[in-house]
Structure formats: C-alpha cells, structure tokens
Amino acid sequence: MTAARKLINWLGLGLFALLGVAAVVPLFLIIGDIYIKGIDAINRLGGLWHFLTALPPTPFDEKGGIGPMLVGTLYMTALGALLGIAVGFPLGVYIGEMRREKFANVSRVAVNILVEFPTIVVGLFVYAVMSLAKQSLNQYLLDPLSKALSPVGGWITQFIGPLDGFNAYAGAAALAIIMIPYVALITASAYASIEQQLREAAYAIGGREFNALFVVLRKAVSRAVVTAALLGTAKIAGETAPLLFTAFGNTYYAPFTGPTAAVSLWIWYAAQTPYSVQIASAYGAAAVLLTIILIIFIVARIRG
C-alpha cells in the first residue's frame, strides 16, 4: 500500500469522524442541558413519583407534575404508532419491493410529499374531518356503542363514548398520519436494497410470495423495520403542532373522549411563560419524555 493511499485513508476517515462528531456535539449539549435542568427541576418540584402523577404547577405552586400529560402522551403515541406501523409497513413493502410498477412510484411520490407537510396542517386536516364527522359519528355509532358497553363498568366511558370536538383519538390520528411516511420510507429502503440473488433465493425457498417476502427475508429487513418503527414512534411522541387543534390539551386527568393532555403541549406552553416554576416543569417533562423513549429504544434493540 502506498503512502499516499494510507494518508488519504487517515484523512478521509478523519473527515468522516469530524463530521460525525460535529453532528453529535450539539445533540449531546442539548441532551445534557435538558437532563441537568430536568433532574434538578424534578427534585425541586417534588421528586420523581410526584412529578409523574401530580397536576401541573401554577406560578404560585412549589410542587407540581405532569401526570395527566404523561398519560395522554402514552395513550396517543401508542395508538398513533400502532396505526402508523400498521399502514406504514405494508406501504413501505409496496414501494420498495414493487418499484417497477408505475403506481408504486406514484405512491412513493405521495409519501415523499406527505413527509414535507407542515405538521400543523395535518392536525388541521384531522380537525376538519373531525368537525364534519363528529355529529353523525356520535349519533349513529358512539352513543349506542357506549350504551351497549355500559354494563362493563363506568370506566369504559374514559375510553369509548361520544367524542368532543377535541379528543385523544383525533390526536392519535394526526400522529399516525405523520408517522406513516417515516415507517414507509425506511422500510422501502430496506426492501429495495435486497439484492436480486437473495430475493430469488427467498422466492425459491418460500414458494408463495407472502412467505418469501415476510418470512424468509425477515432477518434481512427486520432491523430496518424495527428502526423505522422506533424512529417514527419517537418522533410522534415529541410532536406538538398536530395536537394543537386535535387533542387541544388539558391540565387535568380527563376522559380520552375529550380534550387530552400531552407532554409536548405542556412543554410548549410552560417553557414560554415567564414563571420559573413552570419553566422548570417543562425541563423536567422533557427529561421524562427522553428517558421513556430511551428505554423503549434499548428494550427494542436488546430483543430485536
């Protein structure tokens, strides 16, 4: 090996390393900042358990928490992620696997465009649909349904029942729409990158197309798909704008059929007040959110 190539090797790798570090330094700074301020805030505001369950603080309070916000975010993110993966994964398979088809390319363009929509607009769309549908939805479907389910117990009304204009399901729907393109694009990349030989081998072994694509090739693509699911879920857990006009937000524990709290909405609000106790609660909330996501990531990586 010549000296020149060795030099280029070190310079090139060094450049990549520099870029990688440059990408990551601000991120670490931000994370560090949040955890430092967040942990301090949680301690000041009453300790971890209190913070996770109590109601948010007013400027006069000394203690407070993000209980309702946590519940709301968990519920809406879970529902949104479920729907996002359920639609995003097959969509990604379609786009990636059947690239030769015209319609697949049309779908790909559609997905690319969906990714670039301002997230607030997606929220407005769901709001518009909700406004149109609310009356008849409640009348024909949800009222009778909740009456039919009432023997199960009063608690069911927390989840199913006639919907207000602002509710958790609208929020989840907006989040799902936002998540779908992310899952789809990453899944598509995964399927598109399978070399022809591997694909042929899979078909040879698997027989039916379904078997080939999903069972035999599973190992090849599962990492990418898991990444897609995780990334998408993490993204929507932190989204604010689409929830503004769908879930609206809440500062109390309340049924999911009405305005629902979210951690991101609280951070949005509290960080922009001039009152230090509320700003502190915003940092604490951010730290909690990051930690939850981190746990999900680690668990998924270990298992998958």
Binding site: T58, G165, N250, T251, Y252, L265, Y269, P274, Y275
Partner: protein, 340 residues
C-alpha cells in the same frame, strides 16, 4: 387563567375542572364561535364582523388587566450603569418601528433624554417585534395608532402588521413574548415590546443591559413608569373616558371594540393597557351544547369566583393587574345574563 383554574379546582375540593389552553386570541374567539369550546378568551374583544353575526347571543367581559413595556438593550446607558431609564414617546417609538429613526444617537431620542444624551451611542437600532400573530402586538399597535396618526395611516394595527422596519431590514421578529424578551436581552442595541409579566419577573437581567422605558402619556404629558398602580390608573381613566363619551359603562352584550379604542392611550396613567376578555354564550342549551345546564352553572360559578376572589392579590400572578371593582361588576352583570 390556568392559575385561576387550578386554584378554583383546589378550592372546590377537586370537583370542578376548568381546562384552559392558550391557543391564541383569534383561535379563542373562532373556536368559541365554532362551539368547540365552552368559553373563549382573547386579548382583544370579539372582532366586529364576528360580533355582528352573533350579536345578542353572547356576552364578553374583561377578567384581568395586562400591560406592555418597552424594553431596550443599550449597554452604555444600562440602568445598572447610569441609574436612569430612557424616556420615550409614542411618536419616537413609532418612528423607530417605521425605520425612520435608525440610530440610538438620533436627536429626537436625545431631546427626550437630556440626562443621557451624551451617552447614547451611534449604533443602529434593531426593532424587535412578534413573529407570531399576537394580542400583545394588537394592543401595542393599537396604542401607536391612536397616539401617532401617521402610524395609523401607514401601518394600522392588528395581530400581525406589515412592519416598515422589516422592509428596511432594521427589524426582526421573534416568537412569543419569551422570544422577544430573549431577542432584546441577547441583541445589543435592540428595542422590543413585551408583556409586563415577562419583564416583571426578570427585571435584573434587563437592568444589566439596558432597561425599560418611561412612556409619556400624550394626553397629560407626564412620563409614567410601568408599575401596577400606573397601569391600573390608566385602565380606570380609559373606562371613565368611555363612560363620559357614551354615557354609561359598556354592556356585556354590546360590541366592545369601541371600548378597547377608548381604553387605549387613556387620559392619564401608563398609556399601554390591555384587557383579557372572556366570551360566554347567553343560552348554552339553545346553542346546542350537550349538558347545557350543568355547563352553564359551572361556568358561572367559576367566573363569579374569578371576578371576586380571583382578583385578590394572592390569586393574581406576577405581572398582571386586578380589575377595579367598577369593571369587575360588568362581568358579574354578564354572568347574570347567562342562563339559567
């Protein structure tokens, strides 16, 4: 509002939850009219065209008084350094935001501040405004419109305006009061308008880099510093002027746009004053709300508390000013108009 909601929740032993989210004054009015909300709150009264659509069906009343301060960042004349704050008039402020006064050493600024004239540096002024549509901008521009007619003609007032300073690249925007507050603190030689509360909780920081201006009330010629008393004085004086002009205090189901015009630039007191208004329907059942009777009763109980107990100093967060009883009474009267 959130503070009131939580205190009320505690006062009623956790029985009544009033969920308030700040989504913007315009959205507050719009969602209320769209009947997605049980009540709406806004920094400006119901706009005229919307009012006409629902006149007589709803009431609006103020629940608290707010104000706007003019903060500046000029290290050479920082309060901590010189012990003095700047004096400014509506005209000078307007000219700065119009891009006509471009440097801090402009003779017009010097003329108002003889004690600081020699220290004012010849640096470009950066005029900071809100980038988002905001009730704060509305109150600020309404004040400038009334106090300086040339502003009214070129720019007018509203949630967002076409800032002439931007066109001349002498201005910049920031999101939220927090954004403007930060922008002023971080940008040397800048000036910005922020809600009273954002300055009141951070006075020291501003005093280090500049300070907050005494604003002259052009009606009585005196310079007022933004304090709770001066603002209350302004609000009361504005209301008095309305009563003198129209003969009686405003009715809760009337159009309040003339009121906010009279309240702006009042005869005495700190001249930049704003109210936060609440909108309620008169008849929730007729408007199609489910569970109307309970809702109406709850809302009445809550706002009755807000207008009485809620106005006590221990329930008012820093930076806001309680209503004088004359104005609070209008609200109580409004509640009586809400059925049942």
């Amino acid at each position: 509002m959130f503070t009131w909601s939580k205190t009320f929740y505690q006062v009623t032993g956790g029985k009544i939850q009033v969920n308030y989210q700040s989504i913007g004054s315009g959205a507050g009015a719009a969602q209320f009219l769209g009947k997605n909300l049980d009540f709406g709150a806004s920094d400006v009264p119901m706009p005229k065209d919307k009012y006409q659509q629902v006149a007589g069906q709803f009431v609006q009343f103020p629940v608290i008084i707010g104000s706007i301060v003019i903060a500046y960042n000029v290290p050479e004349i920082a309060y901590q350094k010189t012990g003095k704050y700047l004096n400014l008039t509506a005209e000078v402020i307007a000219l700065i935001y119009m891009g006509n006064i471009t440097q801090w050493c402009d003779p017009r600024i010097k003329a108002l501040n003889p004690g600081l004239a020699d220290k004012l540096p010849c640096k470009d002024i950066v005029a900071v405004h809100r980038s988002d549509g905001s009730g704060t901008t509305a109150a600020f521009t309404l004040y400038l419109s009334k106090a300086y007619p040339a502003w009214n003609q070129t720019v007018s007032w509203g949630y967002t305006v076409n800032w002439p300073a931007d066109q001349k690249a002498k201005g910049t925007g920031a999101k939220g009061n927090e954004g403007v507050a930060q922008a002023v603190l971080q940008t040397p030689y800048s000036i910005g308008y922020i809600e009273f509360a954002y300055w009141a909780t951070n006075k020291d920081k501003y005093d280090q880099v500049g300070g907050v201006a005494f604003v002259r009330n052009d009606n009585d010629g005196k310079y007022y510093f933004p304090t709770t008393e001066n603002v209350a004085m302004g609000a009361a004086a504005g209301l008095e002027r309305y009563i003198k002009k129209y003969g009686a205090p405003p009715a809760p189901d009337a159009d309040w746009n003339p009121v906010s015009i009279e309240l702006s630039n009042p005869p005495q007191g700190y001249p930049i004053v704003s109210f936060t208004y609440v909108f309620l329907w008169k008849d929730y059942a007729a408007e199609g709300y489910g569970d109307a009777a309970t809702k109406a009763a709850l809302l009445k109980a809550f706002f009755r508390w807000v207008l009485t107990e809620g106005q006590k100093p221990e329930n008012i967060v820093e930076g806001y000013i309680p209503l004088p009883s004359s104005i609070a009474n209008i609200g109580l009267e409004a509640l009586n108009m809400v059925k049942p």
